[in-house]
C-alpha cells in the first residue's frame, strides 16, 4: 500500500449514518474510507463497524451483501461500535435475530424502569465519561470478554474484546477526548 492508502475501513451496509465516524476520523487525521464489499474489506488494514438502525435489518443487509462469513473470518483489527458491537454476539432480542456469533452471548433489551434509550454521558468503569445511545445491551456468556462497564439501572457491558474483535457500546466519535483517545489507539493498532 502507498502512504496515501486508507488504512481504516468504515463498513457501510446502506442502513445509515457513517458520517459522524468518518468526520471524527478525519478530524483526528486518521485516513479512512467507506467500504461496502468483501473486495473493499480486503484492501484496508482494520475495520470500524458503526452499525445503525435495528439489529435485524442490519443482519439482513449483511447477509444480502454476502458479508457475514467475511466478517466472521476477519483477522485484522475490528472495532464494532454500538449496534456494531452487539452484532458480534450470537443473537439479539431486537427483531429477534441471529447475529454474527463471533462472541458467545446474547443481546437483550434494557431493564424496565430506566429511560430508554440510554442516551447521554455515562461514567465508564475506567473513570471516563462516554456518550451512549442504545436500547439493547450485550450479555456475554463469558464475562472475561468484558473490557469496561457502566452503571445504568444495572451494570452494563460497555466494551468487549475477543481476539482481534473489539467492541464499544458507546460512541467514541462523539465522546469528546475520551472517544478521540479510543479512535487514535485503534488506528495505531491498524498500522
Amino acid at each position: 500500500m502507498t502512504a496515501q492508502s486508507p488504512i481504516i475501513g468504515i463498513l457501510s451496509y446502506g442502513a445509515g449514518n457513517t458520517g459522524s465516524v468518518q468526520r471524527a476520523l478525519s478530524r483526528l487525521g486518521i485516513p479512512s474510507a467507506i467500504v461496502t464489499t468483501a473486495e473493499d474489506i480486503a484492501t484496508v488494514n482494520g475495520l470500524i463497524f458503526p452499525g445503525a438502525g435495528a439489529a435485524r435489518a442490519a443482519m439482513e443487509n449483511l447477509e444480502r451483501r454476502g458479508l457475514v462469513d467475511v466478517l466472521r473470518a476477519y483477522e485484522k483489527p475490528f472495532l464494532g461500535l454500538c449496534l456494531g458491537m452487539q452484532l458480534l454476539f450470537d443473537a439479539s432480542e431486537e427483531g429477534p435475530t441471529g447475529c454474527l456469533g463471533i462472541i458467545p452471548g446474547r443481546v437483550r433489551a434494557l431493564l424496565p424502569g430506566v429511560t430508554t434509550p440510554h442516551m447521554g454521558w455515562n461514567r465508564l468503569s475506567t473513570g471516563d465519561y462516554a456518550y451512549f445511545v442504545h436500547s439493547y445491551c450485550c450479555e456475554p456468556a463469558d464475562a472475561s470478554v468484558i473490557t469496561m462497564t457502566a452503571r445504568y439501572g444495572s451494570d452494563l457491558c460497555a466494551g468487549v474484546r475477543q481476539r482481534n474483535f473489539l467492541g464499544l457500546q458507546w460512541h467514541p466519535e462523539t465522546s469528546g477526548a475520551t472517544g478521540d483517545r479510543s479512535l487514535l489507539s485503534f488506528a495505531s493498532l491498524c498500522k
Binding site: 449514518n17 478530524r27 434509550p117 442516551m119 451512549f132
Partner: protein, 492 residues
Amino acid sequence: MQVIPAIDVLDGRIVRLRQGDFARVSRFDADPAALVRTFASAGAARLHLVNLSGARDGSQQASFLSLVRQIARTANVDLQVGGGIRTLRDMSALFEAGANRMVLGTTLFTNPDLVRQAISLFGIDGVVAALDVRDGTVRIEGWREGTGMTLNEALQRVEELGISDVLITDIARDGMGEGPNTDLYRRLCRTFPTLRITASGGIRGPADIRALRDAGCTAAVVGKALIGGEVTLQTLLRAEASDLAIRVIPCLDVADGRTVKGTKFENLRDAGDPADLAERYCAEGADELVFLDITATREERQTTTALVARVAERVNIPFTVGGGIRTIEDARMLLCAGADKVAVNSAAIRRPELLSDMAAQLGSANTVCAIDARKSDGNWTVLIDGGTKDTGRDAVAWAEEAVKRGAGELLVTSFDRDGTGTGFDTTLIARMKARVSVPVIASGGGGTLSSFVEAARAGADALLAASVFHFETFRIRDVKQALATNSFPVRL
C-alpha cells in the same frame, strides 16, 4: 445505598400519617401482602413494616402477626417490623411469624435491659434501633412523648448497646413530601462513622436518594412517595444504580448563518458565529449541541448543510440539527453532513409518517421530535412554523404519538417561557416524563442556576438554553456545579 419501601398498617389497612399524627391519616385500598409482593418483584431486598395499631396500643395483635406470616410466606424480602414491640414475647412471636429484624424505638429508652436481653437471645443483626427526632430531641410512644434526650445522646446509647443499624426519622419531614433533612444526616454520619444510618422522612425521588447517599446514609426508607404512586420503586432503584449525567445543552438558533436569540421567537439579536460558538461550548464542557435553523421553516428553505458541516468539523460531542426538515432525504443529508441526530417539528405534525419513516430508515436514536408547546387552560397545545401557528393539538398527546412512531428523544420547548429567563415549565416537563419512556430535553426559560436544578428535579434528562450561555450570564460549568451540589450526576 439500599432503598427500603415502608408500609404502615393501621387496623389491617395501609395508611400514611402526616408527621406521626393519628388525626391526619390517609388510607389506601391496596392489600398489604400484595403490595409487598409488588415491591419484592421490583427488586426490594428489605421491607419496613410498621404496626401503627401496635404503636398506638403498645401490643402486637393477632391480626398483625398473621399479616407478617402471610408476607413472610409469599414474598422473598428481608422483613423488618416495628411498632409497639414491648416484650421478649412480642419479639419471639414476630420472629416466629417470619420477621427478620425488630425495629426498636420506645424500648431503647423505657427498657434498655430488654434490648440487651433481646440481643443476647436473638443476636445483634435482629435489632434495628429507630430514633424519631423533632427539633433535635428524640420522641417515643408513637412520637407523642419526649425523652429529654438529644439525638447525639440517644445515638451514644445505641452505640453502647452495640447496635449498628439505626433508622432515623425526621418527624417534621415525615409524610410531607418536602424532601429529607439531608444536612442532619450528613452531620450524624460524620459524628457516628461506625453506625449504619438509614434515613426516613420526606423522600420524594431519585435526587433525594442520591443526596442521602452523598450524605453518608447506607439506606433510605421511602413510604408516602411509593404508596401514593408519585414514584415507582423500580425508578428509585434504577436511578440509584445509574451514573448517567444530566446533559447541559447550549442551543444555537441560526438565521442567515448567524447565531441569534429572541424573545418568544421574535426580536432576534445577533449572538455570534455558530462555528465559533460551537467550538467554545465544546471546550467549556457542553454535553451536546442543538443547532436550529429557526428561519428555515418560515422562509420555506432547507437548512444549509454547509454550515452544519462547518460546525460539525470543529466539535467532538453529539450534535442535533433541526429547522425546515420536511423529508427523509433532508434528514439523511444532514446526517451525512455530520449531524448525529435530526430534529423534526412542523413537518412531523403535518405528516406524522415522517417520524415513522425516519425511525425505520435512519434509526430511532437519530430521530428527535421537537415540540413547541404553549400553555392554555392547564394543558398545552402544539405550535408550528416557528411558533406562528397554533395547531390546537394537545402537546402531551402528540408527544406520546411521536414516541410511538419511533422518536428516540423529545425536545420540548415552552413557548411561554422561551427567552424570558423565568424558569423552565417544570409542570410540562413532569407531565411529559410521566407519559413517555424516552429522554426529554427541557427547553425555554432557563434564566437562573436554580431554574436548571428545578427542571432536573422535574425529571428532565437534558437542559437546553441559549441566551444565558450566549450572553455569558453564566457558564455551562456553573450549571453543572449547581446540579452537582444538588446531587444530580453531571460530567464535570
